[in-house]
Every structure is written in C-alpha cells, then in structure tokens.
C-alpha cells in the first residue's frame, strides 16, 4: 500500500507526535505572518471531494499552496462523476495524470482504503463515510495541546451521534494512544455498546452531566441528520438531553475547553452562548486545520 494517510487507527503514537510537532512549526503564532514555503514546490495534489465540504477542502487547498504545491480541487457535482463514472474509473483517470497525492472525501466508509489497494498514488483520507477523519483528529489534538501541556491523563468527553461520526472514531483512536480517559455520550441508538471496545480507555454513558463531570475537554459532534436512515432518536428532545448548555460547564474541570468540528447547529447540539463563549476553541481548531494538513502533506509528499 502506498504511503498515504488513511486513518488514525493504524498510526503509531510516534508518528502522531511527529505530525503534531511539525504542525506547530506551521502555526501562525504571535505576529509571525506566514510566508509561502517551497517545501513541496513542483508537487501536484488533487483534492477530490465526493461530498460537500467547505472547511476541509479549503483547508487542504491552503495548506498545499502554502507549501508551494499545486493543488486542484474537483467536486463530484459538475465532474464526470455526475455522468455516472465509477469511482475506480475516475481515480484511474486521475492517477494517469500522475498527481503526487490525492486528497479524498467520500460518503462511503472505506472508499479510500479500497482505492489504496488498487492505485499507486498516495491517498490522504479527508473523511470517509462514518469511519475516519484523520486530519480532524490531528488538528483536534493540536488544539488541545495549545491549551494543555500534554494529552496524558486528560479526561475528554465526546458527545453526540457517536456511531455515525468519523470525527469521533479518529479522535478515539488518537486519544487512546496517549492514555486519555475517553467518555462517549449520546442517545442509546447512536451509541452502541461495541463502541467501548474499539480502543482502550473508552467508557460510555447516556447522561450528559455524567460525561462532562471532571472533563478537561468537551468535544461536541454535529448531529448527522443526513447520515441517519431512520429516526433513531426523537429529534424534538435532542437538545434537552444532549445539547451542551452553559449550566453544564460548571460540571467540567475549571478551564475546560469546548470543541466542535463544525459546521455547528446552534440550538441543536450546542447553545449559542456556549459556542460563542471564552471556553469555545472552535476557531482555533479551524486555524490549526491548515497547520496540521501542511504537516500531513509534507509527511506524505516530502
């Protein structure tokens, strides 16, 4: 298999640490304004997005450009995909143009893994279905480390539609490798018991107060209504039981931070007052997205 980045599960702790350390070099800290680098000069990156995405796609594009690479973005709508071309045919066509890497977002779990078995081009997973979103977990870890000296010993609550969340899976795998105490919280149909077995250090609860008590980090997930094929939980009472509100923050550790991969649904999974409060680091996450993706592109292409 070519050296791309398909998921966090198969990465070692050392590899993750190296990416996070390198991402720090790329952060626009203080009054240091970022200049364009030539680290990936002459490299060609194709961003292939089969699913709507604003922040991830833009973030990968900016990351590539800041490293001096050429990046082109293709979205499914308006391409040969909408003419019925199969995934394999599309990728073979693109691979024949010899890009140095393909960044791919797809609604089907495992689509990049399947392609990686058949293509020589390195593939970077920018989110596959309900499976993994590795660069999101890396930028989340980078963001936590901007507020905490290390990940060890932290308690992180991940709250929402866990079973359909690729952000949750990647974060669980990453945090678990660093010995984080991970509490998953959500409605029973969206939090199957098997979730507790996917990595060491994971516990489950259906009570949001219990999840937040003593937490250093609260990660809210987007309620993935577009991924649910059924009404797994009464939508009308979701916010009442699983929405993050100001009063919940008193249960967390002092100085706890609130994260969200975006786009946020105000009033559905998070109250506006929380999203806009001092404890929210949502915009830091976006900022770190570029730095982390630069580190990933450099690792894959450098």
């Amino acid at each position: 298999m070519p050296a791309g980045l398909l998921g966090i599960e198969e990465l070692s702790r050392g590899e993750i640490e190296a990416i996070l350390a390198r991402a720090r070099d790329f952060q626009p800290l203080g009054n240091h304004t970022f200049k364009r680098l030539d680290l990936l000069k002459g490299k060609m990156i194709v961003n292939l997005f089969y699913e709507a995405s604003t922040r991830t796609r833009t973030s990968f594009e900016i990351a590539a450009k800041r490293l001096g690479a050429d990046a082109i973005s293709i979205t499914a709508a308006g391409s040969s995909v909408s003419k019925g071309e199969s995934l394999v045919d599309t990728l073979n066509t693109l691979a024949a143009m010899r890009p140095d890497a393909i960044v791919m977002r797809h609604s089907a779990s495992g689509a990049p893994h399947f392609l990686a078995r058949h293509l020589p081009t390195p593939i970077i997973n920018a989110g596959d279905g309900t499976h993994e979103h590795p660069t999101q977990a890396l930028l989340d870890a980078r963001t936590i480390l901007d507020h905490r000296p290390s990940l060890e010993g932290l308690r992180v609550a991940i709250i929402g539609d866990i079973v359909h969340s690729r952000v949750a899976r990647s974060n669980i795998h990453l945090l678990s490798k660093f010995g984080v105490d991970i509490v998953l919280c959500g409605p029973a149909p969206l939090l199957p018991p098997e979730m507790a077995r996917i990595a060491p250090g994971v516990t489950l609860t259906h009570n949001i107060g219990e999840a937040i008590r003593g937490a250093d980090v609260i990660m809210m997930l987007r309620v993935q209504l577009e991924r649910q094929h059924e009404a797994a939980f009464p939508a009308g009472e979701y916010f009442q039981f699983y929405g993050l509100r100001l009063e919940h923050l008193e249960l967390a550790k002092p100085g706890a931070i609130v994260m969200h991969p975006g786009p946020i649904n105000r009033g559905r999974e998070i109250a506006s007052e929380v999203a806009d409060s001092q404890v929210s680091v949502i915009l830091n996450q976006v900022e770190n997205g570029v730095a982390v993706r630069m580190a990933v592109l450099e690792r894959v292409l450098g």
């Binding site: 199969s86 394999v88 089907a108 495992g110 596959d128 309900t130 499976h131 899976r169 098997e194 094929h229």
Partner: protein, 426 residues
C-alpha cells in the same frame, strides 16, 4: 452409453448406510451394481483406490443468473464450475430476469440446461409474482413444469399473510418453501453483520435478530399451515436453536448452511473488500460456532453454496454500493472437509450426507444415492488431496470469492453425471 466401473474406492452412500471399499458399476446411465470384485467386462475402468466414491453432490441453493444476467454467469458456465466442485445437481434460484415465477420461465431454464448444462439443473420457482412479496406466483404450474421448491431468495416474504398463503399452497402441491430470512426493516441499509467490526469500520450493520425474527415468525406459520419449511443459509445461533426446537416438536422443518458461514466470521473480513460481502453477512465467531455445532448435532440438513456470481465491475466499487454474494461451487467441499471433517466435528459419511441424501430428501429428488437403479450421478473425492484455489482458473464467469490463494486439504477428483464423466481433476 458405455459402461463404467469405478474400482476399489471407499464407497460412502448414506442413503443406504453403506461405507466400505467396493466397486461401482454404471450402465445405461444408472447404477448397475455396487459390490466387491465386480467384473469389468467391456466397461471403462476408473481406479478409485484411496478415494471416496459418493453419490453425486446436490447443491440446493445456487444462482446461475440465466436468463437476464448472462454477463455474470450462464447456465453453461455455472454448471461447469459446479462440476469442478463435485456437484452433479444444482438448484437454480428464481431471481433471474425475468424472475422464474411462471412455468414458461421454468421450462426455459430446463430447456437451456438440457442443451448447455453438464450437470442436472433443478429450477426453484418464486413464491410471489416477481418475488415482490405481494401476490402468489403460479406455484402449481411451476411444479408441473419441473420446479422442485419455491423461494423468493434474495428477499424474504415480509408479509405474514402472504407467507401463510404460500405455505398452504406449497403444502397442497407437496413443495417445500425456502425462506431467505431477513427482516428488511431491521436490516435496512446494512452491509455487514452488526457487531464490533461493523462499529469499528463505520459500516452499517445487519443485526442477527433480522434473521431470527423471520425464522421465529415462519416456524409459527409453518406449524399452522402444516407445511414443509426450509431456512436458507442459516447463520445465527438463535436461528439454529429455533430450528432445533421445531424439529424436536416433529415439525417438517429443515435448514441449510453455507461453506462461508462456517469458515469465516465478520472479523475475518479484509476491511472494505466486497468479496466478503454477502447476505446473510458473515456473522460473529459465536454464530459460526453455533452453526457448526448445528451441523454436528444434526439440526442442519444440507450444505448449500449460495453460489452468487457478480461481474468484476459490480464488485469493484465502494463497499456499500457492491452487490451481495460470492461464488462457491469450487471451494465448497474443500471448506466443508476442513471445517467439519479434518477438525473432527463430523464423520465422512455424515459429511457426504449433507451434500447428498440431505438435500435429496428435502427436495424429494430421486438422486443422492448409489442404490442400484438410481441415476448414475457420482462424486469422487480425495479427502487428503492438497490443492490451492486459483480464481484465474475458475470455470465461473465471475471471480467474487474471498478464497483465492487458499490451500485446501481435500477436494473433488471426478464428477460423473448420468454415467458420463463431466469433470476430472487435471
């Protein structure tokens, strides 16, 4: 038709309780005699020393894809693959295009088979028109045309009232009803067994209870109707338990297991490889063990392949878009020997019964035995032969199998249909 003498094999014929070294003489397409030191006379002699000589294997569950899906398989290619797997008879499921839900299609399949098939083909008719689950198909007419059972395989009959009427009708025509047990509301959107592996891979699950609730419902309906009811490709612990209970009550209930459901569990899947995608899905280790135990204890009556060819392009897609099913004729005996016999779970005569007298009894076929006078369908196999499965050499038109490159201990050596050798290992 020339005479054939199969000499010195271990003749295992569960239907007549025979297990001894003997000769089998074939004449005029029928078994002429079984015994020691039979005179060869003018007969062609086949030395079977060290080999097992069994009644021809019957696969009661296969998809030959003709008419309608000839790009994936034809009656001709499917039957060649069946012969290479040691099968002398194959039952063709009705989910073709058009669906085999009327005697015209039934006769068409029989007619095509008579011209192009190297093994016997027995059509299975649909339960409902178009297998849509709404109105009953022409069950009696299909039986008269040659159908040996009815099934909407690929789909369940979801409507309990329709299932009840189907069971009553099939009973009157003395046909078994074969159900694909899957509650479509519980399985909707699922691509693999619901459990740890599906959760880890982010794939939607098909829970074991999707099978169990249909088995439970159907057993009640079958008892009510007094009909012969058969569970296709049984895959869960609870379903095996329920069939065992129904049998203990004396109900005419039977079931089959596939080689893949006893040799692979969900966690054995190569992630997102569609050669591991089928219905029912590969289940948990516990379910696999329960099905094997069901075979050992006699709850399971037959091994059937559910041979389901799909063209390469259909299986070369995102996992969730790939169709369900794998091919299975050529690997069935090797897998069964490995999982059931070499592991010490069952004897060779019991294994042979699962491929012969078991399905013959369910379908009331005059085959699956070496009794003198029976059609001369014979499968010769070597339980110790070491061989490697190479999909590049498959006789099937399709290559969707997870067993490419697998080494087997034991496999077929020759396949004889109506007295003719239709396949012989090179």
């Amino acid at each position: 038709m020339a005479k054939l003498l199969i000499r010195n094999g271990r003749v295992i014929d569960p239907a007549s309780g025979r297990d001894e070294t003997a000769d089998v003489l074939i004449d005029q397409g029928r078994i002429a005699a079984v015994g020691r030191n039979l005179p060869a006379g003018q007969a062609e002699v086949l030395d079977a020393a060290g080999l097992v000589v069994a009644p021809g294997f019957i696969d009661m569950h296969a998809h030959l894809r003709e008419p309608g899906f000839e790009h994936a398989e034809t009656i001709e290619t499917g039957c060649r693959a069946a012969a290479a797997g040691g099968f002398t008879s194959v039952c063709a499921m009705p989910n073709t295009s058009p669906v085999n839900d009327n005697p015209t299609v039934t006769r068409y399949i029989i007619e095509r088979a008579s011209r192009h098939a190297c093994v016997n083909v027995f059509p299975i008719g649909a339960i409902t028109a178009g297998s849509q689950g709404e109105t009953l198909a022409e069950i009696g007419s299909m039986k008269n045309a040659g159908a040996v059972a009815v099934s909407d395989d690929g789909k369940p009959v979801m409507n309990a009232r329709v299932m009840r009427r189907a069971l009553e009708t099939a009973r009157a025509f003395d046909l078994p009803v074969i159900q694909h047990c899957e509650d479509l509301n519980l399985s909707a959107g699922g691509d693999m067994h619901e459990g740890y592996t599906s959760v880890r891979l982010g794939l939607r699950g098909i829970p074991a209870c999707a099978e169990d609730v249909i088995v439970a419902r159907d057993l009640l309906l079958a008892e009510h109707a007094g009909a012969r009811y058969h569970v296709a490709h049984i895959s869960t612990r609870r379903s095996v338990e329920m069939v065992a209970q129904a049998k203990a009550k004396g109900l005419p209930v039977t079931c089959e297991a596939t080689p893949h459901h006893i040799s692979l569990a969900d966690e054995d899947m190569v992630p997102y490889d569609s050669n591991y995608k089928m219905k029912p899905p590969l289940r948990s280790r516990e379910d696999v063990a329960a099905v094997i135990e069901g075979i050992a204890s006699g709850v399971v009556d037959a091994i059937a392949t559910d041979h389901a060819p799909h063209a390469g392009s259909e299986k070369m897609q995102e996992f969730e878009r790939c169709p369900f099913g794998i091919i299975g004729f050529e690997t069935a005996l090797g897998l069964a020997l490995e999982v059931l016999y070499h592991s010490g779970k069952i004897s060779l005569p019991r294994l042979v019964a699962l491929f012969t007298s078991g399905p013959a009894r369910i379908l009331k076929l005059d085959r699956g035995t070496l009794a003198p006078g029976a059609p001369a369908d014979v499968t010769i196999f070597d339980p110790e032969l070491v061989w490697t499965y190479d999909l590049n050499n498959t006789f099937s038109k399709s290559r969707n199998s997870p067993y490419h490159g697998r080494r087997f201990r034991g496999g077929p050596v020759a396949t004889i249909v109506d007295g003719e050798i239709v396949w012989k290992r090179e």
